[in-house]
Each structure stands twice: as structure tokens, then as C-alpha cells.
Symmetry: C2
Subunit: 207 residues, 2 copies
DNA sequence: CCTATAATGGACCTGTCGGTCCACTTTAGA
DNA sequence: TCTAAAGTGGACCGACAGGTCCATTATAGG
């Protein structure tokens, strides 16, 4: 599969934008808790209260809606992590970041992995456009983490000769793998261990 | 969803076992290259040369077949990694393990992630039985890696006070995350970096 | 050799999926 | 105030999914 047509991003009226958002939100939530394969347009209709014609009024087809869902999850996830990494102060901040993620997964009973990670796994071999989108999302995420690392370098917490981007990629990979294993085992333990290992690796570059 | 009935594992005749294996192989391959959602029984029929009645002769339903696929992939993947970790000699062996994984993904053009990882991501919120199965598979995998670490401890390469299982979990998480990111980006770079970070973390416990 | 069981082919059924269509109502703004 | 565009409801459709059924052919073992 490759890219299909795309509908205009923003409906002209307030009402339209609200409806469109409700649809995307409903789809995102359903997909997060069931996986892409188990969500039909009918389910999305029911949850959002939209009618069939509304779905096709705001989106060209199911893939177009899917892309909107990716966009939304990217905004959501990156937004939450941005506030951490753009003001990364010290090692304690990083530890708090780790703890917050673990606590969040625990609060969900370890149901569902990473909103972006599971989309990536489910769409990578199905829709090249979606894969590109998700690849960009991961890249931005890495950039965010790398910014935090760079800030710690500036502050003198981390050695100046490190490759901040590579470190960031390592951290994100540990997070993704940890989330997948935690979801599968329904236990936060693998996630905790994976994140601890990632942070320990970071700390090995402490000044 | 929860567990359904299961067919007897081994057909009585040689012919039957062969046909059953062909079906599972075809299903495994299709699912690996397209994802679970994009594979229908019809596709599996076509690829394996089996008829509808054969599918339902050897498997209770689609989920039963899916479970057989998981079993097969577990045997396959763990088998390949077992030969490495059950004879883990030194750091060079680990490096060769890393290189082999990277080379394998590269040879596939980074299409498809981990056969077990993508099944886990796609089935965790859909079939509890499958999730348990995959959770066990990950656990065995961790056990394998931990064995290797333990062997290096015995040889005196790694400090004796480490938690081998925790280290193994960290390594597997990095592998899973790295594979997912590599699949999404269609580049082995994230995988290389993730594995290098994991091995560096291991080496930080070198004697 | 004979018979019970395994293996096979494929027509067929039913539900559901993504997607189309058209008639109707609401709303913005000239 | 009038009208064009936006928004909405829902009947409808063809394709295809998973799954059932039954008739037929191979085959193993007494």
C-alpha cells in the first residue's frame, strides 16, 4: 500500500473541527486499547456518535483517518515528553521521567504499549505513508531527548564528547522495547529494568 | 478474547504432519511480511496449497492456527539464539551476535521486525492466550541470554555480583526497540545503536 | 483385502467490512 | 434575507472474511 488522497486538514467551521476532532479522538482511543486490526469504522461511529457520511465527509478513507490518528498521537506523546526534555535539569529529572512512565503504565494495568510504537508495528508493512509519518515522529522524539542530553552537556553533567543523538536513540529503543515486554508480560518489571539500564548507560558518560 | 479450543498437535500420519507444517509455515511467512491483520485464510490457502477443509481439519479456527504460528516462530527464533548463548565464550562472540542480527535485518531491507515482537504487539490486546504464550517466549529468550551472561561470569569476564536476568532483560528490550525503530525507519542504524548501547552496558560490568 | 479413519476438494452460508449515494438540515456571510 | 457551502442521517452495496458441510479419495493396520 502507498499513499491515498488526503482531505483538507481543517474544516471551515468550528462545529466541523469539533466533530472531526471527536472522530479522531474516538479512533485513537479505540485503536490504543484494541489494536488497529480490531477497530472498524462502525466502532468509531458508535464511540464518536458520528454517522457514516460524517466519517467520509472529514476523511477520504480509512487510511486517511489512520493518518490523522498518528498525527494526533504524535502531538500527544511528544507534547508530554517535550515538557520534560526541554527543561531537563539534572539526573533527578531523568529519574522522575522514568518513574512517571512506569507509574503511568502501572496505572493502565500494563494494557497497551506505546501509542506510537504499536501503530508503527502494525502499519510499517502496510502503509508506506504511515510508516514515513511514524518514522518522522520517532525522529522528532529522538531529537527531543537529544536536546535534553545536550542541555546536560552544557550544564556540565555529561561529557562533551558524547554523541547526543545516538544516546537518545538508545534511550528510546530501551523505552520501546521495555513497553512491549511490559505489555506482553502485564508487568512493569521489564520496563523498569530497560529504563534503568538506559539511564545507567547515560550515567556512564557523566563527568 | 480468550482461549478457544485447540486441535491435537500432531496428525497421526506423516502426510498429515507435512501438510500441517506447510500451512503453519505459509501462515508464519505471510504474517511476518505483512502483519497479522493483512493475512486472510484465503491467502494462507493459496500460499500453502491447502484447501479450506484442510485448514479446519488441522486447526480449530484461525486463532488456533495463530497459536501454532507463535509456537513455530518461538522455536525458530529461540533456536537460532540458543546456539549463540549456550556457547557464549567471550566479548567477541557477543559482538558477532550483534553483527549477525544487524546483517540479517540489512539483508531483508529492514522489512519486518522481530517475528515474536510484532506478534506480541499485534496480539497482546486481542488474545490473552496468545499473549501468555508470547510472554513465555520472551521469558525463555531472557533465560537464554541470562545463561550466556552467567557463563561469562563463570569465565571471569563479568563481575559475579550482577543480576544476570536483569541484564538479559535490558539486552532483549534494546533488541526489540531497536528492531522496531529500524523497521520504521527502514535503516539498521537505530538497531546498531541500540545493540551497541546494550553491549556497552554489559561491558560496564566487565571485571 | 477390508474397513475405519485420515486427508482432501470445494460449494456454500452468513455476517461484517469499507465505501457510495442522496436527501435533508444547518450555518455563514454577501 | 437569501443562497451556497458545510454538515448530517442512514439506506444501501459489493467484496470478502471466517466458518460449515458433505462427498470423495487415500491409507494404515487388523
Amino acid at each position: 500500500m502507498s499513499t491515498d488522497e488526503r482531505t483538507a486538514l481543517a474544516p471551515p467551521t468550528e462545529k466541523g473541527r469539533a466533530m472531526r476532532a471527536r472522530i479522531v479522538d474516538a479512533a485513537a482511543e479505540l485503536i490504543f486499547e484494541r489494536g488497529i486490526a480490531e477497530v472498524s469504522l462502525g466502532d468509531i461511529q458508535e464511540k464518536s456518535g458520528a454517522s457514516k457520511s460524517q466519517l467520509y465527509h472529514y476523511f477520504a478513507d480509512k487510511n486517511d483517518l489512520l493518518r490523522a490518528v498518528i498525527e494526533r498521537q504524535e502531538r500527544d506523546v511528544l507534547g508530554r515528553h517535550r515538557v520534560v526534555f526541554q527543561s531537563l535539569g539534572d539526573w533527578d529529572d531523568l529519574q522522575r521521567w522514568r518513574d512517571a512512565i512506569v507509574a503511568f503504565q502501572a496505572s493502565r494495568g500494563c494494557r497497551g504499549g506505546c501509542p506510537l510504537g504499536s501503530l508503527a508495528s502494525g502499519l510499517a508493512e502496510f502503509d508506506d505513508g504511515a510508516r514515513d509519518q511514524l518514522s518522522d515522529a520517532f525522529e522528532s522524539w529522538v531529537g527531543l531527548i537529544a536536546e535534553g542530553v545536550a542541555r546536560m552537556v552544557e550544564r556540565g553533567d555529561i561529557r562533551a564528547d558524547v554523541d547526543a543523538e545516538a544516546l537518545a536513540i538508545g534511550v528510546l529503543a530501551s523505552l520501546q522495547g521495555g513497553l512491549l515486554m511490559a505489555e506482553t508480560a502485564r508487568s512493569t518489571r521489564p520496563l523498569e529494568i530497560a529504563l534503568d539500564a538506559a539511564l545507567a548507560h547515560l550515567k556512564s558518560f557523566a563527568t
